[in-house]
Point group: D2
Chain length 290, copies 4
Amino acid sequence: MTDGSTLFELGPNHYGKSRIRLVTVRRHPDRHDLRDLTVDVALEGDFTAAHVDGDNANLVATDTMKNTVYAFARDRLTGPGEAFGLELARHFAAEPQVDRALVTLREHAWARIPLPDGPASDAFTRTGEFSRVAMVAATRAGASVEAGIEDLTVMKTTKSAFKGFERDRYTTLAETDDRLMATKVTALWGYGETAAEAGFDFDAAFERARSTLLAVLAEHVSPSVQASIWIMATAMLEAEPSIDWVRMVLPNLHHWTVDLAPFGLDNPGVVYVATTEPHGLIDATVRRTG
Amino acid sequence: MTDGSTLFELGPNHYGKSRIRLVTVRRHPDRHDLRDLTVDVALEGDFTAAHVDGDNANLVATDTMKNTVYAFARDRLTGPGEAFGLELARHFAAEPQVDRALVTLREHAWARIPLPDGPASDAFTRTGEFSRVAMVAATRAGASVEAGIEDLTVMKTTKSAFKGFERDRYTTLAETDDRLMATKVTALWGYGETAAEAGFDFDAAFERARSTLLAVLAEHVSPSVQASIWIMATAMLEAEPSIDWVRMVLPNLHHWTVDLAPFGLDNPGVVYVATTEPHGLIDATVRRTG
Amino acid sequence: MTDGSTLFELGPNHYGKSRIRLVTVRRHPDRHDLRDLTVDVALEGDFTAAHVDGDNANLVATDTMKNTVYAFARDRLTGPGEAFGLELARHFAAEPQVDRALVTLREHAWARIPLPDGPASDAFTRTGEFSRVAMVAATRAGASVEAGIEDLTVMKTTKSAFKGFERDRYTTLAETDDRLMATKVTALWGYGETAAEAGFDFDAAFERARSTLLAVLAEHVSPSVQASIWIMATAMLEAEPSIDWVRMVLPNLHHWTVDLAPFGLDNPGVVYVATTEPHGLIDATVRRTG
Amino acid sequence: MTDGSTLFELGPNHYGKSRIRLVTVRRHPDRHDLRDLTVDVALEGDFTAAHVDGDNANLVATDTMKNTVYAFARDRLTGPGEAFGLELARHFAAEPQVDRALVTLREHAWARIPLPDGPASDAFTRTGEFSRVAMVAATRAGASVEAGIEDLTVMKTTKSAFKGFERDRYTTLAETDDRLMATKVTALWGYGETAAEAGFDFDAAFERARSTLLAVLAEHVSPSVQASIWIMATAMLEAEPSIDWVRMVLPNLHHWTVDLAPFGLDNPGVVYVATTEPHGLIDATVRRTG
């Protein structure tokens, strides 16, 4: 490989363990608390010898990463996922050969089963409404935290238009004042530097961001998916000062009005066919100016 | 094909259209109501000529089935899915060559987005907790209705044991007094003959069956998944007299306690690894005696 | 549960372990042989006590089933999957409380990587063309074997028509002399009683059935998917006397001709949009007469 | 939105149409040629007004993108996917408000069904071995082309070791001289600037890259997945001068040796359990030096 290593060089690289499935149960006298996460760990750093020379001395085995996640979960997964991610990322970033440790956590929501005399103490249903995401990156110098929502499927049955768009020889789409807008929201946001400090309330910040997103989604009038992102993201930035930017990735899951005229029926916005492909895909970041 | 048709014969057969994706919006002055269903239609009957002779005269095109679902949805999908399925199934069963028409409806739940002054009138999130299923079969003589729940993921963090099972030379599983029990519930039940009559309240019956299932799931002590089915199903039969039988199909989604001893930690039922394969699969029907 | 057991009774039931993922490597001096299967085991029998009384004494743990599959694979998975399935099914059916043991094997195909001087001896690619299925059922009295193909995706670009079908008020589909026919084939067939005897060549029978299916699929003229099933299945029954019946389940994966007229272009069967939902679904069994 | 637009600004953004499903049939006298692609289109450029002001005048509708793909496919999808992607990307990049047009094509492989007298002229099976990917980016100034392979699942049954890795207090993995190595290859590579010129033979370059990847994968001795990437990628760069860099993303799909000792059996590399989660994930780029 000597020749190879002069003609070729290692470019960007990282490695880690993905889809570490982690469930914890905290058994209090009056109730159990359930957490359910999928964790990914990835490391960037000086791994040239492993690639070029087959020398694994600098490699933390991905099996070790998995073990570390489970061991840390024993006593340290007691607050927000972001805080747990920070502990993990800082642990891995302490290795001298590691430049940057990335920990991604997807937390899946469970709700207590409702019983006649209140929520169950030890039985749960997976709600499936969305996953809460946290992405933590640590270097020896510091850490940054992003958070967000994945797989939140939403629909507006009015207050969504699409008109005045460019028309060329391949355009057949009619303009519309009133369409269904359906999407599966991915929203990510970045916290400012102070958020990585001890004591920041990631749960409260998440909750303000989430509830603002949903309320604005419900109430705004949408001239396009692009404008919807701007309207929702600016509202989130206004509502939550700890957030520096918001990125939204919104598929446009088209619902087509069914032509019922052949059957002697009108269809004034009643019957739709839901589709998944093809779909529009709108991806935009909104940030504080300057 | 003359020779073929004496040596060979057509056995059981059916055909239809699957995964008809249907969304309806009913636009009331004060609110919109949203329904979201996936519909399958299948026909059994005299289709020998289509198979053996290539003569399609008796075939209702599956495209026609799809059109019929959308056309019927215009004005008739206003009550329970079961009632809509009965209208569709009876329509198809009226064709002389059809012996039995089967309509399966999976209704996907959406919830109004909560706003400061109440639920949104025209914006929704897909809840994803479960799909409500209805299976309707109609012949010229009558109709039968089954209903149920699919994809309800649940977990009990205690009150689940598994011991006293058979041990042979291939058995290594330890007995346990206390394990996690996690499953994705499929529950189906059959209504008695009178339920297909006009006016039966399928929504109320579904709600009683669903809430009983969940409450008993949460509260019962489980000696095995098999026993859990019996306990839940008998409770549902007790709670809802209109149901003749309950079938449950429960994967046992194993959660293994992680061995943290190599890291100097105990693990008293705190940290688990969630798995999806392999899984146990328990399928049983409980019915009224006689 | 005393009252319950007089008002209610256990109906049809079975249980087992699903998705046991099994890979074997046989290390010969000149080459390695790779097998990759997903195995499901299910038992029917006298499990009333487990359901009704919470008494697990009759239960073979599904974990034991998994262990048994791996242990048996050590030395006995050397011939056709059907033979391995027979050994497993007979083992489980020997338990006195078991009436019927069902073993389903899905074998995933791998091909040796081609090298300049021939196929690799120890490196493989997953071909993904289809999975070979075997379903074995054993009782104390005997055994039966079914086999088949799953997930074989095929397309005919001509020799497929659909016309002369019934037209009603909901029919808008045009008749066509020439359409694309695309489907994902599930084909299952049942071997006669003698096939379960030692020495039957399941591999050769499978190969004759598979190659006949593909050749007839390619060459026949299809007036409908229904007729295609009849034509392919009768050819398979003619080609392989050990088979008593063939069942085919064929989704009709519609490919719609794109209307290019708005762009000043014709489209004489050139450009299609592939769809997956909704789809037709045709399910029919063809068997020897009498 | 006046206030908002001074406090907040639009950051990186793009939009387009994803999962455009395209099938073409070229009907020659002696045979049909079948192509099957999934196409994504995305545009970057001056879309601030659409986001901030709800002014869609600069927006090319994603529906128009879909139409354009189908219209272009009529006569221009006759050579490599890369060439088709270049035509599409240059078309969209010609819009004044577009800075960069990205077209991604995934081409799904179909093989002619083998018949006694040669391959079928008009009947095909989807091979499913891998998808061929092309990613084309065009600006008004020029274009760049990347190509690659997705979803190529491979296994080496020997010549794979993993030892000498770092051990810390969370390490339990044993060193091994001989393990199974299984992965689902994603390999992407970038062509140099001249490749976007007319006449470059993308098919031949792809074939050299693909066959080199597979041959080296089969024959090399792997000290780690990281080293395997280096060895395969440098061989590809040596074999195909038109390629500037190769990026590989390889999950490590662990296959664990089953402990058969409880059943009185040894397991000298014969019986494995295949797993999908968690998995290692190794991502590295190798490029020409300088």
